[in-house]
């Protein structure tokens, strides 16, 4: 597993510059553009509605979790599908590496990448005074867990995908709506009451809540345990399915 991880790290040392654009610069632009810009209007108007903190402080941890989801999903789906189709996995199958080791190594690498990107994001948040100290560290770990919770099922699915177009469709119709309605931009409690329970089922909502409560220092043991358990279940379940789908695709 560590060998597979080592491979991805080696590759990453050549390509990290491009990935910085997507995984670090994008969320930071949103942080400034929406958090600060739109936040200026929100803070003037309805400061009470968002738990008494500035809109930027409310939005930033949500964006942190959403960005972790997006980059983990893209690497876990497009990255995996490419590796399975005409890349790294093909070359590794004749070696003693088992499919689940390839899956584990790749997921470990994705976790590492999410950790780095989220780390950069948290540093920016701290620089703007939106979080600090242990709370920042908690949010960072929460974001990484969120990323893995999306990457594992995505990899389990994508290893069998032969057309990259399907990943595009999945991103547009599943990931984008999750991003928009999981409490990233506004609290779920603002939605009509009948739809709120649906939000509580969404995986990103748990990621956003986990990061937000940790970042703002309002986390409770019960709440955080539920979020962590939900996300862990997704990550582990995804990995268990990935072991099957990887074997099916790579050792037919």
């Amino acid at each position: 597993m560590l060998r597979a991880f080592g491979y991805w790290i080696t590759l990453y040392r050549r390509t990290w510059r491009g990935s910085i654009v997507i995984s670090v610069v994008n969320p930071m632009l949103f942080l400034v553009g929406i958090g600060a810009g739109l936040g200026a209007l929100v803070d003037d108007n309805a400061p009470a509605q968002i738990a008494g903190v500035s809109y930027a402080a409310f939005f930033a941890p949500g964006m942190l979790a959403a960005a972790a989801m997006q980059s983990a999903f893209l690497e876990g789906s497009a990255g995996v599908a490419r590796a399975a189709g005409y890349g790294a996995y093909r070359g590794a199958t004749p070696t003693p590496l088992e499919p689940e080791q390839l899956a584990g190594g790749h997921l470990l690498f994705i976790a590492f990448r999410v950790l780095i990107a989220s780390g950069a994001f948290v540093v920016v948040m701290a620089a703007f005074g939106l979080t600090a100290g242990w709370q920042a560290l908690g949010a960072l770990l929460g974001a990484t867990l969120t990323g893995v919770a999306f990457a594992a099922p995505a990899a389990a699915w994508a290893v069998g995908v032969r057309k990259l177009r399907h990943i595009d469709t999945m991103f547009r119709f599943v990931i984008m709506p999750l991003y928009m309605f999981s409490g990233t931009f506004f609290a779920v409690s603002q939605l009509p009451e009948w739809i709120q329970p649906v939000s509580y089922l969404l995986p990103l909502w748990h990621g956003v809540e986990l990061c937000r409560t940790l970042s703002l220092g309002t986390a409770t043991i019960t709440g955080s345990s539920i979020h962590v358990a939900y996300l862990l279940a997704l990550a582990i379940g995804g990995f268990l399915i990935a072991r099957i789908t990887y074997r099916r695709r790579l050792h037919p």
Partner: protein, 260 residues
Amino acid sequence: MTTVGAPAWTRRRTLALVERNFMVYRRSITPLLNALVEPILYLLSIGVGVGLLVGTVPGVDVPYAVYVAPAILATTAMNTAFNQTSFGVFTRMKIEKTYDAILPTPLSVTDIAVGEVTSAMINALLTSIGFLTLMAVGGLVTSAWVLLALPASVLISYAFAAGGLAVTTYLRDFPDFQYIQLFMLPMYLFATTFYPLSVYPEAVQPLIRALPLYHSIELVREPALGRLSWDLLIPVFYLIAFGSIAMYVATRRMTRAMLR
């Protein structure tokens, strides 16, 4: 090598390429519907969702969603046109080699360029009509002048289709598209899409005013809010000039690249 008598856009040959693109698109309506998914999500989550937190925008006495919707329409026209002449043209030029098959026919490089821009403009107009219909259904239309959004979207898509074409001639490979995103995303976020110019410090405002998307949004939003004035001629001229310069650069560089 070409015998240019009349300007390219008066020649029927350009239409052949427009027709070709349409025959490809006709097989599925999904590209156009796909182009509408993202703006609708933004309209719902930021326009309506965050809108409840924003209340009214300084200087405008309408619900936030009414304020944001025209801007999203402008960005949709921009993205639809730009994507076709950047991703689309790049794929046809470098991956599918479509133009290599076209160039031995009577079509010149200029015909191809004008044809691509034209069909991008048609696509953008269709998505704009779709989005405008949704705005009307959702009760986000307050003035009949909003209909000016349609000619506006033609102008916007002209500018950005030409711009996309010009940029594409500088790209080497797909990873280079990330650098385009590095410009397009900040422009999307900062060109007064989600809040007025007055939010910015005065020193920054001229910078925002220089962006082509800023003028595109002005051109759609002002009439949509029922505000008409001669000032709207500024974005009109800006977009025509921007598009024409880009068109000139694009055809020149494409001719040089394709007829080596």
